[in-house]
């Protein structure tokens, strides 16, 4: 009886030990691949965002893995509209896809008529609405 309990404890211990190691390796891998993305080691599909500001067509192209959207002037894509929050949303490239995530903006972000509550995957030709403003997304795949 003791022996069976001991064996069970031992197996459980190894499972937990390697779960811990596995977790560490996985998270480390994520942070390494993140830093590789930042340093341009892994190629990212070029992201082009098109919007209309003061009746003027604005087209911006990004090669980085993170693009911020908002009214603040340090945003990568600035949407000058009162219904847009200072830090409205963020686009990130991870797991081989572009994601859009709403940064708890006042008026929310919409993909067509779907309210974006959680990060969602974005594809070519999608349009995102931020308050009254909107922008269109073009993703150029890697050659």
């Amino acid at each position: 009886m003791n022996a069976i309990v001991g064996l069970a404890l031992r197996i459980l211990m190894f499972v937990c030990l390697y779960a811990f190691l596995g977790m560490a390796v996985w998270l480390l891998w994520k942070s390494i691949s993140g830093s590789m993305l930042r340093r341009g080691i892994i190629a990212i599909p070029t992201l082009t965002l098109a919007t209309t500001i003061d009746d003027e067509q604005v087209i911006r192209t990004f090669t980085s893995s993170e693009v911020t959207i908002g009214r603040n002037l340090d945003s990568d894509l600035i949407l000058k509209d009162e219904t847009v929050s200072g830090r409205h949303g963020r686009m990130t490239y991870r797991l081989n896809q572009w994601w859009y995530e709403d940064l708890k903006s006042t008026n929310g972000s919409w993909l067509d008529d779907l309210k974006i509550e959680e990060p969602i995957v974005i594809k070519d030709n999608d349009t995102i609405y931020c308050g009254d403003a909107f922008f269109k997304i073009y993703i150029k795949p890697i050659d």
Partner: protein, 855 residues
């Protein structure tokens, strides 16, 4: 994350708690509660540190501390398991270390203080080392005096000195302006400091720490000067220093020799390394289980060899996890160095990582025999307060620096050496894990089977060894006590020479040794049983009983008759080769080995020797029997009767004749004159063939050790000096087989000492395969021989003979057997007594028939 670590260490503790009950196969739940003490110590200290770093360093590297805590916890419990006394000390040290950790954490601008007062720290470190020359002690009472005593605690100043040296080097190099690095102003001062510290350590014979110092220094030079080529200096220097050390220090010489060939002297100077490898092999992949192994067989398992203790009880899975955790901390450290805001921080973080890497690589590869052994600690795991506290402070510095990062990219030229060091370190760790795996799996069985592996004695204590029985079922050797304290008891001590012993201190011999696989339950037990016992208890299953062919009643009768005479008696079944009696005097009592061992070894009459199988006695005049056949074939005619004058001159022969007045048969009573005449008259080719067929030059295949046979001479040699046959050395067993051959109509039976073993379902299974009899001579020749030597009063044939051991000590021989007219078991006997005892041999020989008739 830390919670998961707490669970892992907790499960380890719990496994240790149930281990004792498991080992002894206890029916009830048995817990060994005291393992909870180090666990609670560990929990408290870990919790203290965690709470403080959560508050003060919220942006720290999240991984380093959980790994540190896991390693420390496993180390502490392992130390406690090996020695609760040292485990308690280690628990206090961890508590102390965590308090120092917290205290230093709350010092504002600690990093700046360290940097600005670099010479002060270095000086303190060197002073402490210098102090050991004056008031140094060694906690064990002898050996290198590397410790300072503070009340009841011992501090080894070389441990904090390593960290202080790193701080100094980092601060010094950080001050040098990059483009202007010149060898004179930038390198020379550090060379002096490192050289001085190194010399202090060499003077103390602390060579391991000295080499760590130099290696850290070179690695730091690599990153500060950005010269990758400098990495080659480490192996180059190791070879040069190793060669010089080999001739300058005895210690270095033995260590290198052991490393090059650990199996040259595994029971002497290489004992530790050999035991370490056996321990790793015993652990295998999954380990024996916490508390179920015997890691204490490796000397100093608590400190230098804690890695092998983990290897034995947790297996490759355990050591792999330990090495990966250490590698993880080291790589995170290098990462912190690369993202550090200040140059000092970068060098310091790198220095600490290099220090942890070097310590780990050197001691673990030393443990596994990949590298000459140096006595240093395995970070976080080994017993040693100074080491643990130093390592904890180092981790505190790493964590502190992980919060002072800069997002700025480091140029590739700066990054490159760090990446190289990280890459090489990872490669070495992979190599070590690979070698560990090789020892633990493909090489496992070979290592476990080594004669130096003492684990069988532990298995014997917990899992019963099989009994050894006589043919009628009387116990000759059995177990007494209960699981955890089984002891071997020989119930027929006079048979100790044959049965042998199984003693934890002196090893195994006789049947105990040769039938070990069956007695210990490795052979004859279903494999799944063996596997289950190994998995659950780390023990082989209860061993199987073995039945020998010995007849206890006859044996005791012979023993009584032989009494105090040195000599041997072998009685066997002439047809089947079953050995009924094997007496060798003087004997010993296997139950009293511990008290008598020294005297048994030193006694000149060699009681440990089994004279029946290992005794080599000159053939003497007994040669006659073996020669007669060839004499007949050579058609040489004996002069009959012998010249009575010659007999009168041969006192031994005359004496033998007078006991039974059966006529003056010079051959029967082994008269030298007739033997010599006979030997001179035979054809040497026929004689040699005859001797070979009788088995004089081959050792009988028996369940216990037999003597080395004589090398056969060439025909020319025999022709030149036929009388040398009388000096050929044979064992009584060989002569018993020869007697059996004559009794058995010229067919030589194979001797069989062990009969069968009892399988788990109670059936007896024969041991060994049926071996064919060898034809030595025609049945008619055998009959003629028997008739020539037949007794006129009993249904026996026999011959006596004599020889001299060491020129003056007389030896009396007797061989004989039953006649075909005898209705009982056909028996053969050989007697050798180291005295002139013609009467006694004939008495013992006459007993044959009494046995045959009662049986």
């Amino acid at each position: 994350m830390l919670l998961l670590v707490c669970v892992v260490v907790g499960l380890f503790t719990a496994s240790l708690c149930v281990a004792e009950g498991t080992r002894t196969h206890s029916e009830d739940f048995v817990y060994t509660w005291h393992y909870l003490i180090p666990y609670f110590f560990w929990l408290i200290s870990t919790f203290l540190i965690q709470r403080n770093i959560e508050r003060k360093l919220p942006n720290r590297d999240p991984w380093i501390f959980p790994f540190t805590a896991a390693l420390t916890g496993i180390g502490m419990l392992m130390i406690w398991r090996l020695s609760p006394d040292l485990g308690l000390r280690q628990s206090f040290w961890y508590l102390l270390g965590s308090l120092l950790f917290i205290a230093l954490l709350s010092v504002p601008d600690l990093i700046k203080i360290l940097k600005n007062y670099k010479y002060v720290w270095l000086f303190i470190g060197l002073i402490l080392i210098a102090l050991t020359f004056v008031v140094g002690v060694n906690p064990t009472g002898s050996g290198q005096r590397l410790w300072l005593q503070v009340f009841d605690f011992y501090i080894q100043p070389s441990e904090p000195l390593k960290l202080l040296l790193i701080i100094y080097l980092a601060a010094f190099f950080a001050e040098q302006v990059r483009p202007n690095i010149s060898w004179i102003s930038s390198i020379f001062p550090t060379l002096v400091v490192v050289g001085f510290a190194g010399l202090l350590l060499i003077a103390q014979r602390d060579l391991g720490t000295a080499s760590i110092f130099v290696s850290i220094y070179i690695l730091m030079l690599v990153v500060t000067t950005q010269r990758r080529r400098l990495l080659w200096v480490i192996p180059a220097l190791a070879i040069v220093a190793g060669t010089i050390g080999y001739f300058a220090f005895d210690v270095v010489q033995t260590r290198v020799d052991i490393w090059l060939n650990p199996w040259l002297d595994p029971s002497g100077s290489a004992w530790q390394i050999a035991q370490a490898q056996i321990a790793i092999a015993t652990g295998g992949i999954t380990g024996t289980g916490p508390g179920l192994g015997s890691p204490q067989f490796v000397p100093v398992a608590v400190s230098d060899f804690i890695f092998t203790a983990i290897g034995e009880e947790l297996g490759l899975l355990g050591t792999g996890a330990v090495l990966l955790s250490l590698l993880f901390i080291i790589l995170r450290g290098i990462n912190i160095a690369l993202s550090s805001k200040t140059t000092f921080g970068r060098y310091l973080a790198f220095g600490i990582s290099a220090y942890l890497a070097l310590q780990t690589v050197m001691i673990v590869s030393g443990n596994l025999g990949l590298f000459p052994l140096t006595g240093i600690t395995l970070p976080f795991l080994s017993y040693g307060g100074s080491s643990l506290v130093t390592n904890l402070v180092a981790i505190m510095l790493l964590l502190k620096m992980s919060t002072q990062t800069s997002a700025q990219e480091v140029p590739e030229t700066v990054r490159s050496p760090y990446k190289w060091v990280a890459g090489i370190t990872s490669a070495i760790f992979v190599l070590i894990i690979g070698w560990n795996g090789y020892l633990a799996f493909p090489n496992q069985q070979e290592l476990i089977a080594k004669a130096e592996n003492p684990r069988w004695a532990v298995y014997d204590r917990y899992s019963p060894r099989g009994d050894i029985l006589a043919l009628a079922g009387e116990k000759l050797a059995e177990n007494v006590g209960e699981s955890g304290s089984y002891q071997r008891r020989v119930t027929a001590p006079e048979l100790s020479n044959t049965i042998g012993y199984a003693h934890a201190g002196f090893g195994q011999s006789g049947i105990e040794s040769s039938q070990y696989q069956i007695l210990r339950g490795y052979v004859g037990v279903p494999w799944q049983d063996g596997w289950l016992h190994d998995m659950l208890y780390n023990q082989p299953p209860p061993g199987l009983h073995i039945k020998t062919n010995l007849n206890l009643a006859l044996q005791q009768q012979v023993d009584e008759l032989l009494g105090d005479h040195a000599g041997a008696v072998v009685i066997m079944n002439a047809r089947t080769g079953e050995i009924y009696t094997m007496a060798s005097h003087p004997s010993f009592d296997a139950n009293r080995l511990s008290e008598t061992w020294e005297s048994l070894l030193s006694r000149s009459d060699a009681p440990l020797l089994n004279r029946a199988t290992q005794g080599s006695y000159p053939l003497g005049t007994l040669a006659t029997t073996l020669v007669l056949e060839s004499a007949w074939e050579s058609n040489s005619v004996m002069q009959q009767p012998l010249d009575s004058d010659l007999i009168r001159l041969d006192p031994y022969c005359r004496q033998a004749m007078q006991i039974e007045a059966e006529g003056q048969n010079g051959l029967r009573y082994g008269c030298e004159s007739s033997s010599e005449e006979l030997l001179n008259s035979v054809d040497p080719t026929l004689l040699l063939d005859n001797l070979i067929e009788f088995g004089i030059f081959s050792s009988p295949d028996l369940a216990i050790q037999t003597s080395q046979p004589e090398n056969p001479p060439s025909v020319e040699e025999l022709d030149h000096d036929p009388l040398q046959v009388m000096n050929f050395k044979v064992s009584p067993l060989q002569m018993a087989i020869a007697a059996a051959t004559i009794t058995n109509d010229g067919l030589r039976p194979a001797p069989r000492l062990v009969n069968s073993y009892q399988t788990q379902d109670g059936n007896w299974q024969a041991i060994g395969e049926e071996r064919a009899e060898t034809v030595v001579m025609a049945a008619s020749t055998a009959r003629r021989l028997r008739e020539e030597l037949a007794s006129s009063t009993q249904s026996l044939w026999y011959q006596t003979g004599h020889a001299f051991i060491n020129d003056d000590q007389p030896l009396t021989w007797y061989i004989g057997g039953t006649m075909p007219g005898w209705t009982g078991t056909p028996l053969a006997i050989a007697i050798a007594i180291e005295a002139n005892a013609p009467e006694l041999v004939q008495t013992i020989g006459g007993m044959l028939l009494s046995f045959s008739s009662t049986n």
